[in-house]
Each structure stands twice: as structure tokens, then as C-alpha cells.
Amino acid sequence: MHKLKDKKLLLQLIIIVLLLLFPIVVKNRYWIYIPTITAINIIAALGLSVLIGFTGQMSMGHAAFFGIGAYASAIFTMRFGLPFWLVLPLVGILNFAIGLIIGRPILRLKGLYLSLATLGFAELVQLVMSQWKTVTGGWSGISSIPAPTIGSFSFANENRYYYIAIIMVILIIWVTHRIINSRTGRTFIAIREDELAAESSGVNTTKYKVLAFAISTLYAGIAGSLYAHSVKFISPDSFTMNESIIFLSIVVVGGRIGSIPGTVIAGIILSFAPELLRAFSLYQTMLYGLVIIVIMNVMPDGIGKIIKGISTSIFKEKNEKATN
């Protein structure tokens, strides 16, 4: 049993070392920028996975919280001159609070009604972004958002920013893993499996659903903040329904029944796919749509289930050998 754990740990260490070496080996700035965006997408999608995959609640409007995080982060650093390292947790707290406030009335709704409510909310937020010109800059958005710095060391360079994104995504994966394997996480899963049964077992389902929602908005906010300081320019166009769809498709392709590795791998595939399809520029988004249709038809259970199958077969075998 020990050896199995060691092997998993070793595998994780190898992946982390490879990720840290990546910018040293790959010199192309573009190919370093994409993993940064991938990491940001994964962070937002993991939050959505806590909500959809593990708690069974829907959201069609996470672009709103992603956008709120990005705008709050840009405004805090540029207007109030706060350092990025303070703003990042601040944005997290702010988004968590917004999630609690919005979640309370919205999560009384279920399924379709919940999707529509979150969708309506996201469109309203986007409208505020484009119309509240004094704060958000309207449709022209906010540009030259400063890069994070430590003393005189600036993270403006893609190579350096990459490390912030990678460290954050590793941290978030670990935190998510801890949440899911805690009492709270098991409560989330109980709600997903059967809300009525959970409630009759004494679970305050409203409280936990709102908590899952707030966690997902917190993640979206962190992702938004990382996004704003990475691309350095934000406008309402970056936070449309399309963005919500990208996060949602990562979660569902990863596996509707929540799976952290599934979400991560789906995040990598669906963030890299548009870049690899860039050769077909005109048909790029079209192919993206096609990929989603095909995956839903061919493997509706998502990548998560396949990973589970592979990992049980590999680790089980090794486990048996180890005990022998």
C-alpha cells in the first residue's frame, strides 16, 4: 500500500518538475502563453466542477464571476495602487462574498431554472461592465494593467508569469482535492446524488449548495485576476456567454460526475485545441463546436470515467505486485 502511494507521489513530482522546467526548454513565447491561459481556464473550471460535478448544481454564467475578478483586480491595482499579491486574495474574498449573496436567492432554483437565472445574471453583469463607463471604461475596457512585481523584480515577461499561473493551479488542484475529500466534500456529493435524502439525513442542503457556489465564484475570481494581469487588457468582450461555455464544456467533457483529473485533462485539451486548430482559422470555433457535439455523443461520461478506468487497472495491478 505504501509503494502505491509512493508511486502516485513520484508521478505528481515528475509532472511538477516538468512543468517548472517547461519555459527553460521551450523558448517560444507563444507556447508559454498558452499554458498560462490553460492554467487559468483549469482554475475556473475546477470551481465550476465543485458546483456542477460534485454538488450537482448548474451555472451558465460563470463568465460573470471571472469578469468581476478581472475588473476588481485591475481596478484595485490601478486605482488604489494595491500590490497584486494583496489584490489576489482580496479578489478571492470579494468573489466569495458575492457568491454567498447571489447564491442564496438563486440556488433555491433547480436545473433549468437555475441555468436561466445564472445566464440572466451574467448578461446583466456584462451590461454593467459596458455601461458603467466611469469605473470600467465601457466597451473600450481597461488597458495596460500592470504586471505583478516583487521589489524590482517584475513578472511582465511571459516566462515569469507562467510560474505564477502554474503555482496557483497546483495550489488550487490541491485545495480542491482537500475540499472534495473532506466532510464538506462528501456532503456536496450527497446533495448531488440525492438532495432529498441528504436533507432528511440532517444536512442543511441550502447552506452547502450556497457554499459550493461561493467556492466556485471564488475560483472564477482568482482565475479572472490572473487573466487580467496576464493579458493586461480587459473589456466586456472577454466575458461573454462564450467564456461561460468554455468553462462549462471543460467540466462536462471532463466528466459530468465530478473528477479533478478529468477536469484538468479536459482543460488542457480544450485550451490547446483552439490553438492547434488555428491553421483552420476561419473554421476554428466551428471545429470547437463540432468537438463538443462529438464528445457528448461518443463519450457522454467524459474523460473522468476513462481516467478512472485506466488508473484503477494500472494501480490495482501494481498494488497486487507490491503486496506480493
Binding site: 448548474m58 433547480k110 455601461q131 462536462v252 473554421y283 457528448m296
Partner: protein, 288 residues
């Protein structure tokens, strides 16, 4: 008088929201599905109309019928290719498949037609008629009339055998099947009718607004908002909801600000969902 003018203007857009809301509610009523590609059905209908009427110079009444038929057929085709295998899965799977179809059609249409909005020729004259101080535009009245006729025909049609079969299938697929109702053809017909409604709404909207590949999302939400306002799944409710949304939107844009016009429908939808998710006439069904 201003208020009356706004109400009259609102009725025209409202009548198109009625068609959209009917399409949304019909699909929900029969199959408990929300189609996130519905805005694209609308957009395709508008382009079909543009090609038939403006490019091929086919008379408008025939364009109208052809657009409905073509939109319906496209809907049926998509159902067969993308959705048919997914009914027995979790509803989220089908929902994402409709999202995929939406992305696919929108970007496909953009690749073909470009992003520049295209003008649709006036069909029935834009010279205003004065009725006291009230300004009436013949074209808008015509659109309102056509939308009403379609809504009424649909209501009558649904009172017949098909409507009964559809309701029976919605209640219990197995029981309906045992009673000799063909579930597959009922499902296909529902998709066809819903798509035809969306397409014809797109065609009728074209003379008032531009034809653009990007209208999908905002139109989709208007259709949802109208359906939610009337009670999603409730067909008479969809008629009231659509007209009411059109009027509210127009009055709001007039008295508050036209930049917030789109926001009014989002706000109405959110408010109704918060206060009374069942809408004005519907029942709140937690199933899906």
C-alpha cells in the same frame, strides 16, 4: 399618448418574442429540453429569408412558408445527428450538445456570411400612417398580424391529435407508446415545429433590424425571458409573456435609457425567476 405609442411599438417586437417563447415552451413541455442553439435557429431563419426574398426575389408569402419549412427541416436534421442518442442521458449532456450546435452554426454562418450586418429590404412599406397622434408603420402591423396568425394556427393544431400525442408523451413515454403513439415521430415533429417557429421569427424580425450572424445570444435570452415570464412550458403563457416583454422593453427603453434596453429582458427574467419561477401562468416543475 407617448405611453400608448410605446405599447403599440412594443407589440410588434413582442409578437416575435411570442413565436420564440412558443418554440422554447413547446420543446420544454414535450421533451423537457432547453435548446441553447435556438438563437441560431432564429439567425438561420433570417438568412434563409434574406437569400430567398432579397437574392432570389421569391414573393414574400412563399418566402415565409419556405423559411418555415427549411427551418423545420434543419431542426429535424440536427435532432437526428446530434441529439437523438442523448435523451436517456443526464439533461446536462444534451444541454451541452445544444451549446455545441450553437457554437458550430454561429461560427459556420460567420465563415459564410461574414460579420457585417446585412440590410433586409422593406416588405410592406415604412410610410407611417397617422391615427390621431398615434404613428403606425404598415410593415410593423403586418409583422404583428402574421405572428398572430401563426400563433393561432399553432394553438388550433395543438388542440388536435398531435397535441394530445405530445402531451401524452411528455407525461409518460412508455404509457404513450403502449397507447400506440409513435414517440420518435412525436419528438421529431416537436423539434420541427419549434425550429420552424424560431426561423420564421428570424425572418419577420429582419425587415425591422439588420440580419447578422451574431444576434443568437441576445435573441436566445429574449426567447427564454418571454417563456419564463409566461411560465415556461405553458403555451398560452408564452403568448402573454412575449407580448408583455415586448411592451415592457419598449417602455423601459423609452423612459429609462435605450442603452439598457437589452438589460430589461435579462432583469425581467431574473426577477421572475427570483419572485415566482413558475411565471405568470406556469407550474414550477423541479424535474429537470
Amino acid at each position: 399618448m407617448d405611453l400608448l405609442q410605446q405599447i403599440v411599438s412594443g407589440l410588434t417586437t413582442g409578437s416575435l418574442y411570442v413565436l420564440l417563447a412558443l418554440g422554447v415552451s413547446l420543446l420544454y413541455r414535450a421533451l423537457e429540453i432547453v435548446n441553447f442553439a435556438y438563437g441560431e435557429t432564429f439567425m438561420l431563419g433570417a438568412f434563409t429569408g434574406l437569400i430567398l426574398y432579397d437574392w432570389l426575389h421569391i414573393p414574400f408569402p412563399i418566402t415565409l412558408i419556405l423559411t418555415m419549412v427549411i427551418s423545420g427541416l434543419i431542426g429535424v436534421l440536427i435532432e437526428k445527428i446530434a441529439y437523438r442518442r442523448l435523451y436517456k442521458k443526464h439533461h446536462l449532456i444534451l444541454l451541452l450538445a445544444t451549446v455545441g450546435v450553437s457554437v458550430f452554426i454561429r461560427s459556420g454562418a460567420t465563415a459564410v456570411f461574414g460579420t457585417v450586418p446585412q440590410a433586409f429590404p422593406s416588405v410592406f412599406g415604412e410610410k407611417p400612417i397617422m391615427l390621431g397622434t398615434l404613428i403606425l408603420i404598415p410593415q410593423n402591423l403586418f409583422i404583428l398580424g402574421v405572428a398572430c396568425v401563426i400563433a393561432i394556427i399553432l394553438q388550433i393544431f395543438l388542440k388536435g391529435n398531435f397535441g394530445t400525442a405530445m402531451r401524452a408523451a411528455a407525461q409518460s413515454k412508455d404509457a404513450a407508446s403502449l397507447m400506440g403513439i409513435n414517440i420518435v415521430s412525436t419528438t421529431v415533429a416537436t423539434w420541427g415545429i419549434s425550429s420552424a417557429l424560431g426561423g420564421v421569427a428570424g425572418l419577420l424580425m429582419s425587415p425591422i433590424f439588420f440580419v447578422a450572424t451574431t444576434v443568437g445570444t441576445s435573441i436566445l435570452i429574449k426567447g427564454f425571458a418571454a417563456a419564463v415570464l409566461g411560465g415556461i412550458g405553458n403555451l398560452p403563457g408564452a403568448i402573454v409573456g412575449g407580448l408583455l416583454l415586448g411592451i415592457i422593453e419598449n417602455i423601459g427603453a423609452f423612459y429609462i435609457s435605450s442603452t439598457w434596453k437589452d438589460g430589461i429582458s435579462f432583469a425581467v427574467m431574473l426577477l421572475v425567476l427570483m419572485v415566482r419561477p413558475a411565471g405568470l401562468f406556469g407550474k414550477y416543475i423541479e424535474k429537470i
